[in-house]
Structures are given as structure tokens and as C-alpha cells.
Amino acid sequence: MRLHASRLAVLASLAVSACAVPPPVAQTPQQLGFPGGAREDVLGRCKRVGLVPVTSPPLPGVDSQASARIDLAARPALERVGFTVVGADGYTQAYDRFNRAVGGIYDPLLGTLRRDGYQGVISGARREYVSQEHLDCIAVLSVRSTRAEMWGQYASWDGAGELADGGANSAVVHFFGGTSGQGTLSAVSLRLELLNPEEKLLYTRDGGIQLETYFDPHHGNDESDFLVVPRAKLLQDDKRIERALVAATVPLRYTPEQILAARWKDPAIDTTKIPVESLPPLPAGASQERPPTLHVPRAQILSSVHRIALAPLALNGFAPPPGFIERIRALVHERLAPLNWEIVDVESINEVYSAAVRAVGGYYDPLTGKLDAERLHTVFTNTMKTLALTPPADAILAISLVRTQAAQRNGNAEWDAAEQQALTLGSVVKGPRLLGGTANNTAGEGLVDASSIQVLLRDPAGNTLYQARGGIELLQQLSIKTQMVYPRITYHQQFADRAPTELFKDAARNEHAVMVSLRDLALSPEQIAAEAVAAQKAQKR
């Protein structure tokens, strides 16, 4: 064995290198959120600042009152910077006026934002606001979903630090059985932007509010250790909103040198050091359950529905191989056969429905983007009239291919009652690899894109009777990149989309998806239990 000169040099220089840790350096203006580069310019320019309100609701599914809560907290936070903060009345009035002038910023057919109209309204409202209130700058607040880095039992992002399990477990559990992995968790942050009167971005910084998912092996279920905080329980915590606002305004209040000096020490500047015990308890997370499939009791459906119109499979941008559509239709007929329904294949139903939507000008309010139930009812009534089925159908069954996400644990992905190994794309065999299973712990946990069949049964008035999904196959393949930075080995998840030409070719998976998607409708609870037992026996064999 030879000892290289380089290895001897290593030995000799160890003592020196141990003492030669470079001192920490203050962050650059760009890193602190000043894209133009000069903090002093921004503070010198922005004295009278208009506060544009947060959109309501701030995120889909979140309580609309949360926006007002953030607006209320934002004013003192900006005043602490030294700004004179002007109320948003002038902005709101201009926004409403321009929104009406352009006929609404939402697409009435889809309920989505019309980008060009939205931009025109926002831009116009901001200009009016600046001009009327003689503003130097505008502060724009928005709430956004983001990712928190998880290391062991802690998660941190955008100046926020939290326990990755949301504090659901005691200190004793953390000590003896805490998580040791790393990864990312969904989180929510507040973004503060300062714009000049011509909408040039002068400053932008995010402040973390709270986690949207927790990682908690002690409260997870068989499928996943991730727990989700219901959207309705997000943004109810004034203390965490305040922490986010402090984190977002720190570079405006303190110099880079002050921020550097306070790192790891002063929670008034380094908000990750705010002890979680000083904050209110976090809302509990819950395992993601399958949503109920039957929107009315099954017996009621069976007594009122005898004849259904079956719409052609909606592909939603997928390009399945030839014969797929016909096979799915045949499987639907087969699965529903025990119900003795008369199933009428109506090829024109999607076109007729689209024409009916266009005829009423869409069923979303163009000013607010909210669904108009009355218009939806009209659309369905008109669709049924135009179809003029004799005798009329009691319900419409729409089937579509949809993109969704599958939760994977150790590479084994499960979603919509389907399973697939995300690393190999083969079948899942529960258990570690040493015992013949397909679990690979380097894959950790996470989400991977998947495909499902979605079925939706509606009555002639448009009321949903039944809605369910059956998983087909994964749309991505997971791979693990191993990186060693002494003394830690890190496994990075990487995803590659599968080629469109290799999808939907597995007849068994296609059949399973249809069977699962219609199971709660076609089978009684007793039949479902019997089917599950039979499946378990088959798996054991």
C-alpha cells in the first residue's frame, strides 16, 4: 500500500484547515429581495405607499375572511418600515369599475382568469390608485403555495420554522421516535412586492405562514405518513401571519450587516428563531381520504334512474392507442349490466352540451369566477331538450381520462384504488426487497403524476348523483439520484414523463380502472365486501 503525497498533505494541513472556516458574508441586495440592487434607493423612493388588498379568497378553498385578516396585519407591518400607508379604497373602486368595463376578468365558459383582461384591469386600477392618492409606491400582497425543506423533525422555509409533524407529537416521541429523513412539505407563504408607479418591481420577499402538509409517521395511515391541513383551517392564525410579515419586511427594516449579525440569534430579525412554543397550536392534519362517491343514496339512484345517456370518453389531451375508447365503453356497459339500466351511447352529447354552454354565455360569473348554479341547470335542461331522446334519459354518464397525483411511499405508488411501482413501473409487492417486496426506502415519500378514469353521473337538471375515479397507470417514472456529501448520503427524487405512445396499453390496468370507478354504483356494499375478499384471496395465491 502506498501513501500518496496528496494524502500526506491532507494529514499535514488538517490542523490549518480546521481553523480556516470562512466567515459568513452578508447577503447581496438581490438575495435580500431588491432585484434592482439598491436598498437605499427603494427606501428613499417609497415614502407614501398604497396597500393593494389580498385577493379573496387568498387561495382556493381558504376562508375569504383570511384576506381581510392579512390586510389588517399588513398595515402596521409596513408602517414599522417607515412607510406612510394609504388605504385601498381608491384601488378597490377602480378595480371594480374596470372589471365591469371589460365585462369581467373571468372566462364565463371555464371559470378561469382571462389573462389579458386581468392584466388590463389590474394595471389600470393600479395607475388610477397611484394617480388619485399621489403614491410613491404600491405594496402588493399575495398568498402562495410553496415548499418547505424538511430535515428530521423540523421544517423551514421563507423565514419560518416549524415542527414537521405540526406539533402533534410530544417531545418524548420526538426524542425517541422522531423522523430522521429529509424532503419537502407543502407550505403557504405570503409574498410582499413593492412596485413603483409604473409597476416596476423594486422589492419582493416571501414570509412563510404555515405548513399545508405534515409528515407524521405516528398519525399517518397505511398509504402515507403525510397529513393534510384542510384548506378551511389555513390562514386563521394571526401570530403566524405576523411572523410572515416580519420575515417579508426584514430587509426593508434592517441593513444586510444587521441581518447577518442577528442570524441564529435575534428572533425579531431571524424569524426562524421564533420558538414554536410561543405560537398558537397548529391545526390538526388529516390523512387524505377518498371523497364520497355517492352524492345521493345508492337506493335513490337505483329507484330513479333506469335509462342513461353515455357520453363519449373525454380524452383531455391524452392520445390513447386505437381501440382504447371502444374498449372503455364496452367495459362500462359490462360493469353496469347488473343494474339492468338501458344505456344509450350518444356520440353528440359533448358537442350538444358545449353548444348549450355557449348559448347561455357560460355558467361562471365573469366578475367573480364563481359557479352560477341556475345557469348550469339551464345548460343541462337545454342539452336534454336538444338531444330529444325518446324516452328521455334519467341521467347522463360522463367519462373522462384525467391527470392526477399518486402518493408514493418507498417507490410503491397508490392512488384511486390502483397501485404501481414508481421506480420500475411494475407491479407492487408489499414488503422490503430483501423479502421479495418492491419497497425501496431510498425513494422516500412523495407524489408522482398518474392517470385515472373519472366517471360523473348527473341527473337531467345537472345535479351530481355519483362521482368516482379509478386509477390506470403512472404518467411519470421516478428515479433516485444518490449524492454523497460527507458524512451524509442524500437521495434526490427525479421524475421523467413517460412517452405518450407507451400509455394506456395495459388491458388489465384499463379494466381495473373502469371496474373501480363504477364499483360503488354497480355493486351493493355486500357485493363490494365480497369482491374485496375475493381479490385478497387471489393476491395470496
Binding site: S17, G120, P197, E198, N440, T482, A496
Partner: protein, 372 residues
């Protein structure tokens, strides 16, 4: 000593773990290609694909080892220059590369320099060498790590990384020389290779951009260009061949992506807008769109009243072009309105509505006509 043993075991564990997971690390090239092709960054443009096919065919003519027929180059949208070719012949360059190169000669050079390592199987050679080196050094390294109770490990890793980087540079230089020879044998200038690398470096510096890949790491670009200059292949005389890019396709695509980049940079990286526009105008002269982008840049900085006249002058210049974008008239009207010149504001708003009567914000502009 217990600690040293633990470290030694940990190192052994790492090697075993890496071996155990190696099977999961690789994705098929077909899958990676499918992922790029269905991604949002993929640029769908039949004319551009056809042009790149033409360049590739010309290069392949010089090289019987190239994956004849299966090599295909597509474009991905990215502000930094990238060029790489997968093992199955699917190659990608970025808009950030196309917009910064001077001509087809430089483009062909970059593609050839990406193809040569594939043909020479550099990746496989380097992987085999790394494996051999790891096995050869395992026991000596273990001894050092054990003797230093683990403290020597980071420095050992650093030395290993340096050795790998040096070997990679050697392999790249050899492959680049092969690429330059191919260029000469199909009528391209071999000097376009180092020229392309220097051009990328110069423009990235001017735009205050840098990355960490082969074509965006400023230090690496300079060193690689210097190494190429020392190669014999750079002095080869190109053979007489078909004329290069007679239809001027390269310029059309390159300028198009440069203008897209300048527009995107207005909001996020304003420092690069003027250098990009200067470059475009040097090749094609000022147009309504370049004048518009310059005016937009000035408007964003016209926060105080004193700077408004400068912005107005820029938009006036923009609307003087026959091909002025309609937004020029709108913004000019808004600036006149801001400066209190309602007559000129009205004139500009009317011109905007005449150019874009169905624009989404046309109703808003009409309210300005009603309430000047």
C-alpha cells in the same frame, strides 16, 4: 478509535449503498427524451426543426460513427445556453444558446462539440476510470480517514473531485479536437468553435448572467476556448462545400429568440435588455418592436415626473415606426395623460383603439376617452 472505525464503516456503507441503488439511478434515454419533448420548455416550431435537421445532416456527413439518421436536435426554452445529446441520439439546444451565437458556423461547432463525446464514448470511459480509481484508492483512503478519525474525509473527497475534473477536461479537449476536424471536413470554419465559446462568455458577462453548465460557466468557457486554440484541428482549412445558410435562417431564429429574451427580462433581469437590443439592432437595425422594448424599459424607470418626457420621447420614436406594436400607442397615451396633455393622450388612445379595437383592455381605454 471507536469513532475512526465508525467512520470507516460509514464509508464502506456509502459504497455499498451506492452499489445497491445504482440500478435505480438510470432512466432510459427514451424516457428522458419523452420527458423533455412533452415538457413546457419544448419549443414547437416545424421550420426551426427543419433548419436544425439540415445542420445536423451536414455534420453527420463528416462522421461515419455518428448515429446516422437517428440524431435529432430540438430546442428548449431557457435563458442560459445549453447543448447536450442523449445516448439515443436525441439532442437539445436552448433558446439562450441560439440567440447568443453569431451564425450557423458557431451553432454547428457547438452541436459537433456535444456530439463528439457521445461518439467517442467519453462518458463510459470516464465512468470505468472512476470505478477503477475508487477501488484502487479504497484501502489507502480508508487508512487516512481512520488515522485522522474522519477529519481527512472532506479533503480526500475534494482531491478526488479535482482529479475527476482534470480527467474530464482532458477528455473534453480530445473530443473537441475531433469536433473541429468534423467542422473543417464539411466546410465549416474550425475556428468557429473557440469563437462560439468566447462569444457566449462575452455576452453572458455583459448581461450579468452565469450558470454552472459547460456553456454558461464563465471560467470554464474561457479555459475551454484557450485549450481549443492550442489544438492542431483549429487550424485545419475547411473543404469547399455547399454555401452555409443561404436563406439566412439562423439569423431569423436567433434574433427572434433574442427579442423574446429581452421582453422577458424587462420584469426580472432589466440589466440585460439594452445589451440584447443593441446586439439585435446591430444586425437588423431598429424596428418598431425594439423601439417598444427600449421605451418599456424607460417607462418602468419613469417613477418621478422629471423622467416622464424621456419615456414619452421613446414611445414617440416607437410609434413613428410602421411596424410599431399597438401597445406603443396605449402607453404613449397613458404617459401623456399622466403629464396632463389630454389632447395628445386622446389622439394616442384613438390610435390604439384603431389598431386594436378588440383588445381586452379596449373598454378601459374607452373610459379614458370619456373621462380624460
Amino acid at each position: 478509535m471507536w469513532r475512526a472505525n465508525a467512520v470507516a464503516l460509514a464509508v464502506l456503507g456509502v459504497i455499498l449503498a451506492q452499489t445497491a441503488t445504482a440500478a435505480d439511478d438510470s432512466l432510459s434515454d427514451e424516457r428522458v427524451e419523452a420527458s423533455y419533448n412533452s415538457g413546457t420548455a419544448f419549443v414547437h416550431h416545424a421550420g426551426l426543426d427543419a433548419y436544425l435537421r439540415q445542420v445536423v445532416h451536414r455534420l453527420q456527413a463528416a462522421n461515419s460513427d455518428a448515429p446516422a439518421g437517428s440524431l435529432r436536435i430540438h430546442v428548449l426554452s431557457n435563458d442560459l445556453p445549453y447543448a447536450f445529446i442523449l445516448g439515443n441520439g436525441a439532442g437539445y439546444i436552448t433558446t439562450g444558446l441560439l440567440e447568443r451565437l453569431d451564425d450557423e458556423q458557431q451553432l454547428a461547432a457547438i452541436i459537433a462539440m456535444s456530439l463528439a463525446p457521445l461518439v467517442r464514448r467519453d462518458q463510459q470511459t470516464l465512468t470505468a476510470e472512476n470505478r477503477q480509481r475508487m477501488l484502487r484508492n479504497f484501502l489507502p483512503n480508508l487508512l487516512v480517514i481512520t488515522a485522522t478519525a474522519g477529519l481527512g474525509a472532506p479533503m480526500m473527497a475534494k482531491a478526488d473531485t479535482k482529479a475527476r475534473a482534470e480527467r474530464e477536461d482532458q477528455a473534453q479537449t480530445a473530443s473537441d479536437a475531433v469536433a473541429l476536424h468534423w467542422l473543417a471536413s464539411v466546410g465549416y470554419q474550425p475556428r468557429a468553435g473557440p469563437a462560439a465559446l468566447r462569444r457566449l462568455r462575452e455576452l453572458l458577462l455583459t448581461e450579468q448572467r452565469a450558470g454552472s453548465n459547460d456553456l454558461s460557466d464563465l471560467e470554464h468557457l474561457a479555459a475551454r476556448a484557450d485549450r481549443l486554440d492550442q489544438s492542431d484541428a483549429v487550424n485545419e482549412t475547411p473543404v469547399e462545400g455547399a454555401p452555409i445558410d443561404p436563406a439566412g435562417s439562423f439569423d431569423r431564429f436567433s434574433l427572434y429568440f433574442a427579442l423574446n429574451q429581452a421582453a422577458a427580462d424587462l420584469d426580472g433581469h432589466a440589466v440585460s435588455v439594452v445589451p440584447i437590443l443593441d446586439r439585435v439592432e446591430a444586425r437588423r437595425g431598429e424596428t418598431g418592436y425594439t423601439a417598444y422594448l427600449r421605451a418599456e424599459l424607460l417607462r418602468r424607470d419613469s417613477a418621478d415626473a422629471s423622467s416622464v418626457p424621456v419615456a414619452i420621447a421613446a414611445y414617440e420614436k416607437c410609434v413613428s415606426h410602421a411596424d410599431a406594436p399597438e401597445s406603443c400607442f396605449r402607453e404613449l397615451g397613458l404617459l401623456y395623460r399622466r403629464s396632463g396633455d389630454s389632447a395628445r393622450a386622446r389622439e394616442s388612445f384613438l390610435a390604439y383603439l384603431a389598431h386594436a379595437p378588440k383588445a381586452a383592455d379596449a373598454p378601459i381605454i374607452r373610459t379614458y376617452l370619456e373621462n380624460p
